[in-house]
């Protein structure tokens, strides 16, 4: 029963995506929506991304120093490990998990409210492909903005680590050497590629949950929660495959 339900849901998701991935009817309206979504989903998330990345960067640096660094380890290990964690996992995967909570619930509740207040029906009556009109700019907006958020997250994580160094947890020289040690540019690109896939998951899955809401405000809330849970789980699954694929 669960399997049939899941397959049916996945089929419904694919059908929705087929409708979403059609050319916009009016490019002028699409770009207007696209810019708005970049601002709502991307620019408005910069604050939380910077804040969390800064503190996580600082905490990782302190934890590594306290738990791993010893006289057997090179002094630059703290900087090196902090950079690798930020670059490989935190700034792409964990940050996207956080964004799934913020952006995912925002998307699901916005589209769900449009559904229950018949705004989607109004679009359909006008002869507009409502799925494409509402969802495509959201997917495009978040996918466009996510690489920028990843870069900001990496930079602010390292700024957080430097702040602990300035506070005397480790020396600034050791941290600098560690951060520069054996740097592989590919990791930055891999992180961005992962985040783009995650951005697609967050925006499309959350839109799916919002678009098919039936009922009232209670159901919008439920759809919002389901959107966050589903997106987070899919991000975690996708992370395993992508990490292996991009290694």
């Amino acid at each position: 029963m669960f399997l049939i339900k899941s397959i049916t849901k996945f089929g419904k998701y694919l059908c929705l995506m087929q409708r979403v991935m059609s050319l916009p009817e009016r490019w002028r309206m699409f770009f207007k929506q696209y810019i708005k979504e970049m601002s709502t989903l991307g620019v408005d998330s910069i604050g939380i991304v910077l804040l969390i990345s800064f503190f996580i960067g600082a905490v990782i640096c302190i934890q590594i120093k306290l738990n791993i660094a010893s006289s057997w380890m090179p002094t630059m290990v703290t900087g090196y490990t902090t950079r690798e964690i930020m670059l490989l996992e935190f700034s792409s995967s964990i940050m996207c998990l956080i964004l799934a909570g913020k952006v995912g619930s925002n998307i699901a509740s916005e589209i769900g409210t449009m559904r229950v207040t018949q705004q989607i029906d109004a679009l359909e009556i006008m002869g507009i492909n409502s799925a494409s009109f509402i969802i495509l700019p959201k997917i495009a907006g978040l996918v466009t903005m996510i690489p920028m958020l990843v870069i900001f997250s990496i930079v602010f994580g390292l700024v957080g680590a430097y702040t602990t160094a300035c506070a005397g947890v480790i020396s600034v020289e050791d941290l600098t050497v560690g951060i520069q040690y054996d740097f592989n540019q590919w990791y930055v690109f891999a992180s961005i590629i992962k985040s783009i896939v995650f951005a697609f998951i967050i925006s499309s899955v959350s839109s799916f949950h919002g678009y098919f809401v039936e009922g009232g405000s209670f159901d919008v809330g439920k759809a919002s929660t389901n959107a966050v849970v589903s997106s987070s789980m899919l991000i975690l699954f996708a992370d395993i495959f992508l990490t292996q694929l991009l290694a």
């Binding site: 009016r26 002028r28 207040t117 018949q118 705004q119 029906d121 109004a122 009556i125 006008m126 002869g127």
Partner: protein, 251 residues
């Protein structure tokens, strides 16, 4: 002209529409009346294509809506305007942007002309000066009027109204009824209104169909309502104490 032929619609085991056949006259205000749960909204949603009937035909000037290709449906929908029960205005847009929306999507006018047309429609519904307000900042009656302005922005051939008076006081309801009726005559549209408001029935009901438990029970005009001998219709119409007294006084 819109014609329904043997329309059936079910949800699971429950048959909501049981073979409805009727015609809606051109250039007239057609009313669908019936008790809550009788299938009025389902019927309207079938007519506008939000639901697909299991059986039957929905003919727009002889063209069957159910069997149209997606492209033909889209083209036909551009000739439709609809006013929803809750107005269904776009929250993120101002009143002017809401009215301009269909023009932005489908007209080739330049921006200046689109603004001019939107302002003209707002003036037509007596909403001059509310252009910059957002739907959340205006009353329910004003929202309905914005919805009417949006619906007529592209000069539609067909206008559909799903309980346009719900949640409004009697005075505002009359204003909305007069507006819809006036616009119908002005633009020679085929208007279909879903309602259980007796003021609307007696005021603007040029052609009325009464639905009872998913079946077409009675057809007539507002003048026929008072003299009808159909028991189900009279018990529905004269459920209001006041209307009963009016009828008795007329006798």
């Amino acid at each position: 002209m819109i014609e329904l032929v043997n329309l059936h619609k079910s949800f699971g085991d429950k048959e909501v529409l049981k073979g409805i056949s009727t015609q809606f006259a051109d250039g007239k205000t057609n009313l669908i009346i019936g008790q809550s749960g009788s299938g009025k909204t389902v019927l309207m949603k079938n007519i506008v294509g939000l639901f697909t009937p299991e059986q039957g035909q929905i003919l727009y000037d002889g063209r069957d809506f159910v069997r149209m290709t997606q492209k033909e449906r889209v083209m036909l929908r551009r000739e439709m305007g609809m006013i929803f029960q809750a107005a269904a205005l776009f929250d993120s847009m101002s009143v002017l942007e809401n009215v301009m929306f269909p023009l932005d999507m489908f007209s080739d006018m330049n921006r200046e002309d689109r603004i001019k047309r939107a302002k003209f429609c707002l003036e037509r519904v007596n909403l001059k000066g509310a252009e910059e307000k957002f739907p959340g900042e205006i009353s329910g009656g004003m929202q309905k009027r914005v919805a009417i302005a949006r619906a007529i922005a592209l000069n539609p051939k067909y206008l559909f109204c799903d309980e346009p008076n719900s949640g409004l006081d009697p005075k505002t309801s009359l204003v909305i009824d007069d507006l819809i009726h006036g616009i119908t005559q002005e633009y020679n549209m085929t208007t279909i209104i879903n309602t259980h408001d007796m003021n609307s029935v007696m005021g603007i009901g040029e052609h009325i169909i009464y639905i009872y438990e998913g079946e077409l029970e009675w057809t007539g005009t507002k003048h026929d309502v008072m003299s009808s001998t159909n028991e189900r219709l009279t018990s529905f119409i004269f459920a209001s104490d006041m209307l009963r007294k009016v009828r008795d006084a007329n006798k």
